[in-house]
């Protein structure tokens, strides 16, 4: 090599070019690294933004506030105040009646049915619960919050279509023309085909334009055929065509009316945290899944913390250097790499089929997850034990402590923060784990909130999986909402682990 270098000396100019090229390569290489990290960071931000945008609407719901007279005769005729009797009362028709009264112009059977479709099927249950909580309301006039259906809710959240409104200018007159209507206005701003013109409590959809006159079809009949003055009528434009949304123009106009009157309002959906799963998106909540996850994690923690720490102590302090110890160590490393779904197969074949434990139970889920995170905890605990300097143990041994006394009284307490950090990270891992729980049947539609370790339950990630499969858009936002909750839990757990590490970490 040296020979050739001497044989063909480079000239100065060449060398400059070469150096420049080499520096360019250097910058390029460094840029690749930055780009790789940037791509990863952008992906992470996109993921969070996507989940937030999709999920935040799940934390609000739209409710109507209807004045309803809580009818003694329909609910508690004998004035018994007995919860059992109140429970069987008719809470549905008062809501329907009060809601219908808001729209006196709706008279046909089909329209009324459509109107009632805007209310959630759980509205009567809410009303019932309200009266059961406060029986003094019976016979009184009450302001009752009435939940809207998921489609109506989605519309009011603006997730079905955008809405633009323009105030009408000039006087608008309507003249019937066969099946259709001719609208004329002396104002300047004119709507385009597809727009809705609202006047006198009625609405017309513009079909075509012809010099200063509009041809329109009637969506809702107006109260009077009289002309509407400037400002008394307006133009409503939906950005998504009627065929592409689940709320049609008529329903949308009703909802716009409710919103403008201040009857429909957005509230925080505590229901999302306090109710179990439901087939109706607006009624579904994560409480059942959250309880299932908590019960499962309790079993996991109760099993894998003592076993993991004991195994770590044994391997780190007491294990003789022999073949059996080697096998155990190799095994722990291998287990850490086994796909989680295989642990699910173990749970199915061993715990369910062989030992006959109940399906879908947090007990079995906890068992499987404990085996899954055991390697993590053992490895973290061993590292924490190893980080305690040997001088501590030697000092204890020096003043006459037995080996076990030295370990349990001196080394273990000092290693505890590290062990706890590892355990929390293991638990966070277990909280997000889905596949093994699918295998042991924790993947069912379960409405009841689980209260015991052998009740049928789901877990938070499973709920996310189940909801993500459902076609309703409202469930999509519930899914993302549940993801936000899950990520919040993980964030808190990891922050706790970091705090613990920062607070108690000792450098020797």
């Amino acid at each position: 090599m040296t020979d050739t270098a001497i044989a063909t000396p480079r000239r100065i100019g060449d060398n400059d070019a070469l150096v420049a090229r080499r520096y360019r390569a250097e910058r390029r290489f460094k840029f690749y690294g930055i780009a790789a990290i940037a791509v990863t960071a952008v992906f992470l931000m996109l993921l969070f933004a996507d989940v937030l945008v999709k999920g935040l609407p799940a934390f609000t719901e739209h409710r109507l506030t209807l004045p309803i007279k809580v009818d003694q005769a329909a609910i508690d005729p004998q004035n018994s105040k007995d919860p059992k009797i109140i429970r069987t009362g008719d809470f549905d028709s008062p809501i329907r009646r009060a809601f219908r009264d808001l729209f006196p112009e709706v008279t046909t059977r089909g329209d009324r049915k459509k109107l009632m479709g805007l209310l959630s099927s759980g509205a009567a249950d809410d009303f019932r619960a309200m009266v059961m909580r406060d029986p003094a309301l019976i016979g009184q006039d009450a302001k009752v919050p009435v939940l809207l259906s998921d489609d109506a809710d989605q519309y009011l959240k603006g997730r079905q279509t955008g809405v633009e409104k323009f105030p009408g200018q000039g006087t608008m007159t309507v003249t019937p023309e066969g099946e259709q209507f001719k609208l004329t206005s002396d104002g300047v701003a004119l709507p385009s085909p597809g727009d809705i013109i609202r006047m006198n409590g009625g609405a017309f959809r513009v079909l075509s334009l012809s010099n200063a006159a509009l041809l329109a079809e009637q969506v809702m009949a107006p109260k009077t055929p009289a002309p509407a003055a400037s400002g008394a009528w307006d133009i409503v434009r939906f950005t998504v065509p009627e065929n592409n949304r689940r709320i049609d123009d008529q329903e949308a106009l009703w909802l716009e009316h409710l919103k403008e009157q201040g009857i429909a309002e957005s509230n925080i959906a505590w229901r999302f945290f306090t109710s179990g799963d439901s087939r109706e998106p607006e009624l579904a909540g994560i409480r059942g899944a959250l309880m299932g996850s908590i019960l499962t994690l309790l079993v996991t923690l109760f099993l894998c913390l003592p076993i993991g720490v004991a195994a770590a102590i044994y391997l780190e302090e007491f294990a003789p250097k022999n073949r059996f110890t080697q096998i155990i160590e190799l095994n722990i490393n291998n287990l850490a790499a086994v796909p989680s779904i295989v642990f699910g197969l173990l749970g199915l074949a061993m715990f369910l089929n062989f030992f006959g434990l109940p399906r879908s139970a947090p007990l079995v889920g906890g068992l499987v997850l404990a085996l899954l995170v055991l390697p993590t905890i053992i490895i973290a605990s061993r590292a924490a034990l190893r980080a305690v300097p040997p001088s501590i143990k030697e000092a204890a041994l020096g003043v006459g402590a037995s080996h076990q006394q030295a370990v349990f009284h001196h080394v273990l307490p000092l290693a505890m923060p590290g062990i706890m950090t590892g355990t929390i990270i293991g638990m966070a891992h277990a909280l997000g784990e889905t596949a093994p729980l699918l295998m042991i049947g924790m993947v069912a539609f379960i409405v009841d909130i689980p209260t015991g370790f052998t009740d049928a339950a789901t877990a938070l990630p499973i709920q996310i999986y189940l909801w993500s499969d459902l076609p309703e858009i409202a469930f999509q936002s519930k899914t993302a909402g549940a993801i936000i909750v899950l990520l919040a839990f993980l964030f808190v757990m990891n922050a706790a682990a970091i705090m613990l590490r920062k607070r108690f970490e000792r450098r020797w």
Binding site: Y23, A25, R28, F29, K30, Y32, G33, I34, A35, A36, V39, T40, A41, F43, L44, L47, D50, V51, K54, A310, A311, A319, I332, N333, N334, L335, A337, V338, P339, I341, V342, G344, L345, L346, L348, A349, M350, N353, L371, L374, I378, S402, H403, Q404, A428, H429, L431, G432, T434, A435, L438, M439, G441, P461, Y465, S468, A480, L487, L490, N494
Partner: protein, 457 residues
């Protein structure tokens, strides 16, 4: 039954500890002689003995008691009911409901007789088991108290016990592996008694639901694993095409270029990404990335399946970036500084040093990191369950829908299961394949590091 037993156990263990410690203290003050062990160890000595004996009794007697109760309860029934699992379970539930008073409807006479037998047998079993436990526990306590003497080496005995407990705990890992092997191998063996392993491993069609070939007897479908393997490989390759360069380059940047403040920002980003549950990534892949790829592909004139391998592969690649980068980071950091210094002294730039010196030195570790990442991708379930398809297409087209081994395991086992049908059992055969695939990759990764690692010290 078990609840009461464990309450008794806890009480007797506590009592044994207190009595033992008290007796030892009394001995010390009465005779004035020094004890070999501290009084607490005498207590622990008895408590450990009570725990061991009572647990042993429970483990042996509880299944016997349950068996006895069931035999008594089913005594009145037709043997054909007992023979069949489903009917037996249903009958047992009926009996339990009747005993608990929550039975709906009018019970038959046999059911009443069964319930009466069940009630008397379970109360007998309850008192028998708990009585035996109490007697044994008390006997052990008295035996222990009689043994307490100043010279009793209670601490050594107790520490001996603790050591065995610790050993048992670390053996759980081995038991888990054995459990996985047993459960998977046992069911897979049943599967292979119905379907020949040759058909399974080399068959080009996977269709567990419907009969495709009339000449196959005793099975409901075709179990050829090749399309699944191809699908898994396709998604894994896409994932590694994403994660390989991105992970490696971020590792290089982190290890060689990044200043400590940058490291302090970037490392948490990668850790956050590593901590995101795969079900969340699956949601993102299925509801955001897949439609995006589909619409952009269609606007370019490609025919993209709504559950394309590309979407699942891309997101899976993102999932394993932290895995590749943290392992590679460690390996690159482990290359001694003297090698770099030598290269700089020769006039090499930083990137030349990395390319010509550091990476070759770290290559075995990087290769093993890639292998581990591949094994992680192969075993990943939720992303592919949510974003990849179900149809087993034998194709290498990344825009088509493919299915993977894990998706099929999940599909076959969620819902109704019949453990005598090839369909359900095939999931365990797939599990076996998956287990050995990942184990082999890990083993190879380990061997690569062991064989090619350069010793610099």
């Amino acid at each position: 039954m078990s609840g009461t037993y464990f309450v008794i156990l806890a009480v007797l263990v506590g009592a044994g500890f207190l009595l033992g410690a008290q007796r030892a203290r009394g001995l010390r003050s009465d005779t004035g002689s020094a004890l070999h062990s501290l009084p607490a160890y005498h207590g622990l000595y008895i408590a450990a003995a009570v725990l061991t004996v009572m647990m042993a009794i429970y483990v042996m007697a509880a299944p016997l008691a349950e068996h006895y109760v069931l035999r008594q309860a089913f005594g009145a029934f037709d043997p054909s009911i007992i023979a069949e699992q489903l009917q037996r379970d249903a009958t047992l539930r009926d009996i339990q409901n009747l005993v608990a008073g929550s039975y709906q409807g009018e019970p038959s006479d046999t059911l009443k007789a069964g319930a009466a037998a069940y009630a008397s047998a379970s109360s007998l079993a309850f008192w028998g088991l708990n009585g035996l436990g109490v007697l044994a526990g008390l006997a052990v306590i008295f035996w222990g108290l009689s043994r307490i003497q100043p010279e009793l080496r209670a601490r050594n005995q107790f520490e001996h016990f603790v050591k065995y407990v610790l050993l048992a705990c670390s053996a759980v890992a081995v038991l888990t592996t054995i459990g996985i092997l047993l459960s998977v191998v046992f069911e897979a063996a049943q599967f292979f008694s119905k379907i020949s392993p040759i058909d399974f491993l080399f068959g080009l069609q996977w269709s567990p639901q419907t009969a495709m070939r009339a000449d196959q007897v005793g099975s409901s479908g075709v179990f050829g694993i090749v399309p699944l393997i191809v699908g898994t490989l396709l998604i894994t390759i896409i994932a590694m095409l994403v994660a390989g360069p991105l992970g490696l380059f971020s590792a290089i940047y982190m290890a060689e270029y990044a200043t400590p403040p940058i490291r302090a920002i970037v490392k948490p980003i990668l850790e956050i990404l590593a901590g995101i549950p795969t079900v969340v990534l699956g949601f993102f892949a299925a509801l955001t990335v897949a439609p995006l790829i589909r619409s952009s592909g269609q606007s370019l004139g490609f025919d993209v399946a709504s559950e394309s391998a590309l979407a699942a592969g891309l997101v899976m690649g993102m999932m394993i970036i932290p895995f590749v980068s943290s392992l590679s980071d460690d390996v690159i950091n482990a290359v001694p500084q003297s090698l770099r210094d030598g290269s700089y002294a020769m006039g090499a730039t930083k990137s030349e040093t990395i390319k010509k010196v550091v990476l070759p030195a770290a290559l075995p570790g990087i290769v093993s990191a890639f292998m581990l990442a591949i094994s992680r991708a192969i075993g990943e379930t939720m992303i592919v369950v949510m974003a990849a398809g179900l149809a087993a297409n034998l194709t290498f087209n990344p825009l088509a829908a493919v299915t993977t081994v894990t998706v099929q395991i999940k599909t076959l086992l969620v819902g109704d299961q019949e453990f005598d049908s090839a369909k359900t059992l095939s999931a365990f055969a797939l599990g076996l394949v998956l287990f050995f695939f990942t184990l082999a990759l890990n083993y190879i990764a380990l061997k690569i590091v062991q064989r090619y690692r350069e010793q610099y010290d």
